[in-house]
């Protein structure tokens, strides 16, 4: 016996895409960077990442269940896991656990759940948490462990990151040039920095996975990287003594991580291709400005947050071209 026929309008078929599939692919795409960070920073990177992921998921669960009193729990969609990983990727591998927990609470609580959860947050939650920590714990957030201390955690010896050195060079300290690692070392990740940002290669591999599984499009990462390359390239040409080769910029700091994973966050990026390109250009521009002229060595987080704030405007300005509009 055939059951009651369902009545609902077309389309009657679905591509099968789900929120979970997209989120899980992003998690998968983040794995190469995690592996590299483990090789470079050792046990510390794993401790920080695990703590961050667990506390993000826990906070999301607590907030949805006890504060918002929702029946449907959303932790299974994987977005809290991504926030956790991304937050950890933006932290040095020697940061104490309690700071991570506080950061996660801010990321999930203030960055996401106060706005109503996934889909409604104007700012990238991981970056909200990261910037909060940067301002609250400036010393611990800006002292990065030297690579290859595989068993050290909070006791690891620290050193300057390539970005510090680039800043010093721009400030006129030409001796810093000698300490700067080669572009190749920067590219594969053999350098000091936050957990997830060191290896441009691993991040690009993740970007390739995202592109292949059609989770994101090329527009945001490519426009960010191109803008940064062009701007720093011009400055390099003007004065090679003060301003380093653009390749250093592309491979150092959080640029690659931000461009491929943070700026491309669905919720906080524009909806149209055109909008995404403008968004990327804005981030690239702000990043270079902050890196060279701001008081922080890294500008990616701030640049993305600032551009997040104007995404609604970008969505209003950059409408897709309607079919038939050319005929006007």
């Amino acid at each position: 016996m055939v059951e009651k026929l369902i009545l609902s309008t077309s389309p009657h078929l679905h591509s099968g895409d789900t929120v979970e599939r997209n989120m899980h692919t992003v998690i998968l795409a983040l794995m190469p960077a995690l592996i590299v960070s483990f090789i470079v920073f050792g046990i510390g990177s794993l401790v920080v990442t695990l703590t961050s992921v667990c506390s993000c998921v826990l906070f999301e669960w607590l907030i949805t269940k006890y504060l918002l009193k929702r029946e449907k729990l959303t932790i299974a969609d994987g977005s809290a896991v991504i926030t956790g990983i991304l937050l950890a990727f933006n932290l040095p591998a020697n940061i104490p656990l309690y700071m991570i927990v506080i950061g996660s609470l801010v990321a999930i609580g203030i960055g996401k759940m106060v706005f109503g959860g996934l889909g409604n947050n104007p700012f990238n939650p991981a970056l909200v948490g990261r910037v909060f920590m940067l301002i609250s714990f400036p010393t611990r957030m800006t002292s990065w462990p030297e690579p290859h201390q595989l068993l050290a955690y909070t006791d690891a010896t620290t050193c300057a990151t390539p970005l510090n050195l680039i800043g010093q060079i721009a400030g006129g300290n030409s001796s810093a040039m000698e300490q700067l690692p080669s572009v190749w070392h920067l590219f594969i990740g053999n350098t000091a920095g936050c957990i997830g940002e060191v290896s441009a290669l691993a991040l690009l591999a993740g970007f390739a996975i995202l592109l292949w599984r059609k989770v994101i499009t090329w527009h945001i990462p490519v426009s960010i990287l191109l803008t940064v390359a062009v701007l720093t390239g011009i400055m390099h040409l003007v004065n090679p003594e003060l301003y380093v080769n653009p390749l250093y910029h592309l491979c150092s700091g959080g640029l690659m991580l931000g461009a491929c994973f943070m700026a491309t966050d669905y919720v906080t990026s524009p909806m149209t291709d055109k909008g995404m390109i403008w968004f990327g250009i804005g981030i690239g521009f702000l990043t270079v400005i902050i890196r060279y002229f701001g008081s922080y060595p890294e500008g990616m987080s701030f640049a993305i947050l600032i551009m997040n704030a104007i995404v609604p405007l970008i969505n209003n300005w950059c409408k897709p071209k309607r079919f038939g509009e050319t005929a006007k």
């Binding site: 369902i6 009545l7 389309p11 009657h12 078929l13 591509s15 889909g119 149209t272 897709p320 038939g324």
Partner: protein, 446 residues
């Protein structure tokens, strides 16, 4: 590099189960039902009464206005009643019921299989024959063909585009028609070219119908000005506007503009075949090919069906409705209409009968929008479905109109790509209907 349309589109699995299924002739029904509103425009007006005897091809309802179409009996027998029937719209509409008795045809109809290629009629006579035969667009929209053949005076039409795309998954009615009646289709094309005095015609066919492309290519040399255009597979290429864009690269502006405004006219291959039969064989539109299909259907098939046959009869022929059926659809899975039951009769626009298993038919739980923008990149009209749906939910009709909601073609690409499974098209359709009503009442006031 195959041609296709420029904006958006999706790639659903084509699932053409009946690709190789040679058309079979369905049995005559015991009672045939003819809804009076099988086309866009005014319903037809019955011109028979209860108890009248009719033959195949007898006019039973005459066009009820300029934009309307004649309806002919597809069976011989006695008019049982003029009552109401639930049709594919999901509502009860007036219809003529005919009890079938034998299979007697009107004498004026040429029933032979001979191909009549010669046509010396004047354009007006051709259009008149099309009008008398009650031919409508067979792709599903059912717009009266004779109206389409009389474009506004200020539009110069320079090309005919024949729609052999059949981009809807599952359906193969047009594909089989092109394979089994290539000559008739090509003659039909030249008749339309003659009627509209145009020298160029393109037949657009998606690349998954390689055999049809090859067959028509082998015959097309005898028909000057006709070209076969293979197209890359992409839904909704069979949409009129998308097809014109794909084949000749022209984009029809927003309504009220029509294809004629960019010098093109589009006809479905089914319509072209019906035009051939109407003009060369004097045969009104009394039958069509219907694909009866579905993943769990025992014997999916292509059937030549008389209009008015209940769909249940076709389903029985295909091995009965599978146990797991969750949804019965008239048409394809992307744009077809859900049916309440199988008693609905086949009408001029019934291109397929699709039975979806329950797990495919049930919509997954709706989540909040994650603003991924996939609906925006899938929309073939360059709209922002996520925004339209929100505006619809909020009832902001004014803003929706400014965002060009009226150009939406309701293809369903947005909803079928949404990872949050939002019922975007439900909302968009509500918004479009409401805004359309507001615009109409505003125009009426002027």
């Amino acid at each position: 590099m195959l041609k296709t349309f420029k904006i958006g589109g999706v790639h659903p699995d084509d699932n053409k189960l009946t690709r190789a299924g040679v058309t079979e002739i369905a049995e005559l029904p015991k009672q045939a039902v003819f809804p009076l509103s099988q086309h866009i425009g005014a319903p037809a007006v019955p011109c028979v009464q209860k108890g009248d005897m009719v033959k195949v091809g007898t006019l039973i309802a005459a066009a009820g206005g300029f934009v309307s179409a004649n309806i002919h009996s597809s069976v011989s027998g006695k008019v049982a009643k003029i009552d109401t029937v639930v049709d594919a719209s999901g509502y009860r509409k007036p219809a003529i019921f005919i009890d079938v008795d034998g299979d007697e045809w009107e004498e004026s109809i040429d029933r032979s299989d001979d191909i009549v290629s010669d046509c010396q009629l004047a354009p007006q006579e051709i259009i008149e024959r099309i009008k008398n035969a009650g031919v409508v667009g067979m792709g599903g929209a059912c717009f009266p063909t004779h109206v389409k053949m009389m474009p506004p005076k200020d539009c110069k039409i320079d090309c005919l585009i024949v729609n052999g795309v059949e981009c809807e998954p599952f359906l193969t009615a047009d594909h089989r028609l092109m394979l089994e009646h290539p000559d008739e289709v090509l003659i039909g094309v030249s008749i339309i070219m003659r009627a509209l005095d145009i020298s160029k015609a393109y037949i657009g066919i998606e690349a998954n119908k390689r055999d049809a492309i090859d067959l028509l290519n082998s015959k097309v040399a005898a028909y000057p000005g006709v070209g076969i255009v293979p197209l890359k597979m992409k839904y909704p290429q069979g949409g009129e506007k998308q097809l014109i864009d794909a084949v000749v690269g022209r984009q029809v502006p927003a309504p009220p503009a029509i294809p004629a405004n960019v010098g093109a006219i589009v006809q479905n291959v089914g319509t072209v075949f019906a035009i051939y039969e109407a003009v060369q064989k004097n045969k009104p539109l009394v039958g069509r090919i219907v694909t009866v299909t579905g993943k769990s259907v025992k014997k999916p098939c292509n059937l030549v069906v008389r209009m008015g046959t209940p769909i249940s009869q076709l389903i029985d022929y295909a091995g009965g409705m599978p146990e797991d059926t969750g949804k019965l659809i008239s048409g394809g899975p992307m744009m077809g209409r859900p049916l309440m039951n199988a008693d609905v009769p086949v009408v001029k626009g019934t291109s397929g009968v699709l039975m979806l298993p329950r797990e495919d038919a049930e919509r997954a739980e709706e989540r909040s929008c994650i603003r991924c923008g996939k609906c925006v990149s899938a929309c073939p009209m360059g709209l922002e479905p996520y925004l339209m749906a929100t505006l619809g939910e909020q009832g902001d009709w004014e803003r929706a109109e400014k965002e060009d909601i009226m150009i939406c073609i309701e293809c369903g690409c947005c909803q079928s790509t949404c990872p949050s499974r939002r019922p975007l098209l439900d909302w968009v359709r509500l918004t479009k209907t409401t805004v359309g009503g507001i615009i109409r009442s505003r125009n009426a006031k002027k």
